[in-house]
Symmetry: C2
Subunit: 455 residues, 2 copies
């Protein structure tokens, strides 16, 4: 490993330049106007893989293309699939960015740009470690496949289908995903659980046009009033979700895991300060880490109705809508949740209001064991790259396709997050620590060696 380490050190500046190049491409998957940028990002990866010495191709889908690359075959070695995504969240609200989202800028040792941590920077650690192996050693100790998609931020609908229909081509012993966080700066982690998600848009319609709230108010059901009543019926004051059957299949937190979480000594006071709030909140009877990692949630992600401009406009709006996210834990079933949600919404929808529920792609949660041999190999690689052994955590976010990998490929899942919790993924001023970028690349290079030894 020493020659590889030296190579990584010598080429650190070039790696940063390449990361910035990729970050400059505004590959926003949710935005129909960003198609050309999405394509540029995919092409950038394709050319990069080919230059590194991998066989690579773009795979068209109904949506944005997949990038698939394979290393030269090594007989007898395990096969590892690296998954990541080159698409990014919308950058709005733009006026809250200190520097523009697609002009990567270094401040305090971190690069600021949309996609820096989620997920372009993390994907690049694995690409660059492979490049180092191939440049220095002329080969890898494992068989590697890279599958990098462009639709993670919009539900991975087309990747899911591709995985299910190409299980032979993607066959592997384990899947490596770096699209999450360390526990805290200096405390790298292996993530042994992910929450699932279901996401909906609820649209309500009342009268066919906005009405004068004086002439008509009081006699016609108001969709905005109805929306607040219906949504507040979904969760009670103790943070318990009221969707019928919601908790039926949720695996409760084991006492052992609650102890492990408590040992991490999560600092609620620092959390309040970081977020500038005066109290934590959530489901009664759970700690902050338990609420974030291992309990299901209901969050309204957006509300839209009527007049949103300056001043007072006295209307009874004709429509109201909301974006709704439920995070799930194993073994909650997205389809059962959708059925329950439809039932309660139909029950609470008042007369005079018509309702439409748009169901976005959902995915179940996931758990893996710290005793898994690939997890143990990863732990050694992380200790090598970061100089300290990892802690075992869960992650509150969802990587929808990971459940598909586990189910369709029968592979073990390695969730190695290189980000930090304050990286502002999904909000303005997203960033990624450059020190972590380089440490993670070193850990990744070691990972191929360690995984190569697993029987």
């Amino acid at each position: 490993m020493s020659t590889i380490d030296e190579y990584l050190q010598v080429n650190a500046g070039r790696r940063e330049d390449e990361l910035f190049e990729l970050l400059r491409i505004p590959s926003i998957s949710a935005d129909p106007g960003s198609r050309p940028a999405i394509r540029r990002a995919a092409d950038w990866l394709l050319e990069h893989f080919i230059k590194m010495g991998l066989a690579a191709e773009l795979i068209s889908t109904k949506g944005h293309p997949l990038v698939l690359a394979e290393s030269p075959h090594v007989a007898g070695a395990p096969t590892v699939l690296v998954y990541g995504h080159y698409d990014v969240q919308p950058p709005e609200p733009l006026d809250k960015w200190t520097t523009p989202p697609f002009e990567p800028t270094i401040r305090d040792g971190a690069v600021y740009a949309r996609g820096a941590a989620d997920d372009k920077g993390q994907v690049l650690t694995h690409m660059k470690s492979v490049e180092a192996w191939l440049d220095v050693e002329g080969g890898l100790p494992v068989n590697l496949k890279f599958l990098i998609e462009g639709e993670e931020e919009v539900g991975s609908a087309n990747l899911e289908e591709f995985v299910r229909q190409n299980t032979k081509r993607l066959a592997c012993d384990c899947v490596v995903v770096s699209d999450s966080c360390q526990f805290s700066p200096g405390r790298p982690a292996i993530t042994c659980g992910l929450r699932g998600i279901v996401y909906y848009e609820l649209r309500l319609r009342g009268p066919k046009r906005d009405l004068h709230s004086g002439s008509f108010g009081g006699s016609v059901a108001n969709p905005a009033n109805a929306l607040t009543r219906m949504l507040s019926a979904l969760i009670d004051e103790r943070g318990r979700i009221q969707v019928p059957g919601f908790y039926d299949d949720a695996v409760p937190l084991a006492d052992e895991e609650r102890r492990q979480f408590a040992d991490l000594q999560f600092d609620d006071r620092a959390y309040l300060e970081e977020l500038d709030i005066d109290a934590v909140a959530g489901e009664e009877g759970y700690t902050t880490l338990e609420r974030r990692w291992a309990r299901p949630t209901f969050d309204i992600c957006g509300l839209t109705s009527g007049y949103q401009g300056e001043g007072a406009k006295t209307i009874l709006p004709s429509t109201a809508s909301a974006k709704l996210s439920f995070r799930l834990v194993p073994d909650q079933d997205p389809e059962k949740i959708t059925a329950g949600l439809k039932k309660i919404l139909a029950d609470v929808c008042p007369p005079g209001i018509r309702m439409e529920l748009i169901d976005f792609q959902g995915s179940p949660g996931l758990m893996v064991s710290p005793e898994n041999p690939y997890v143990r190999a990863a732990a050694r690689a992380i200790e090598y790259g970061f100089g300290t052994p990892p802690v075992y955590i869960r992650e509150g976010g969802s990587i929808p396709v990971v459940s598909t990998f586990a189910q369709s490929l029968g592979a073990d899942i390695l969730l190695l997050g290189w980000g930090q919790n304050d990286d502002n993924t999904h909000s303005p001023n997203e960033k990624f620590s450059l020190a972590d970028f380089h440490r993670a690349t070193r850990a990744s290079a070691k990972l191929w060696e360690e995984l190569g030894k697993v029987q």
Copy 2:
């Protein structure tokens, strides 16, 4: 009156042209960018009054200017103040207009434009009837003052102050206001009651930035969730408003008035069809007319939070806000309502959420008696202009300054609405019937004669 009638008939086309001229000016008082247009509309009125033979001037305020005009003095005759407004509601959403809001277009005998009925068209009926008297008779049978403001749609804050400080200059026996509706086509009305209004913006703040709903969801109070819970606490399922003390001062509907309303045989089925809804709604125990005219309301006029674009963005938003309108009946006191609202909101605001309530200008409701001599004079004028006697109704909307006139000037109030309920004031495709425009101008000309006879 016959020469005046003839004059009105001969000049009908010119009157329409002049109305269209005024409607082309986008005098949107809520929009800071519309100041030049507001000024153009005020100047248009000023020049028009002067050309008619009235003494007129623009009066500057902290906001948009007032137009004040006076007819030549007639000794011994009563004095009448005509109030109206030249500002209009914002036209948004623009894509729902069949023809552009500031390009008046005739369809099916009505002119379509923002401000056609609310209130430019109605104001012009009184200006044009005065012009007819002066051109034909060289004088008027009453003393007339016109006070036309540019801030009615944003709460009349500066007019209120002007009225209170200029009671001598505005002194009059009665105030004529045409800024409301007939009962239905062919059934002109005198409005004997107006609802008051209080209007607020509620702003909630949670974490200092939008958060990833996976990584943070469940552990931090979500302002959008809080908003739905807080707003749904303001009204129960039976349509009863939960603000403490809300109904304490509300004058209940008298049995006699309930009978009068019932005699109007309001057609609920036609109402459902007109609005394209499948049920009426509102406070339990009241009819549609009672709910619209004589009972207080709570309507959310706008909701704003988080992601409002296409697709799914998985955030826990940092802020959420709502625009809130309560319509009041006599003798509810806006200040007491505000105090009660603040109390209940503070009670239901959850930990981790900071709240701000912005209080817009409020005004109490109003009632006048059908036995009032000016009301009886107006009834005769309406019968003359429309060929049928008026019915006596109330109006659910608010004309905030009318209460100020009643209180500050001690004058009787004549609410003579020339519009129709389906005129789409405050929504796209606002219109005003041209037949009503001309009938109302004829009624207005007769009104000056009838009011001149009141002892």
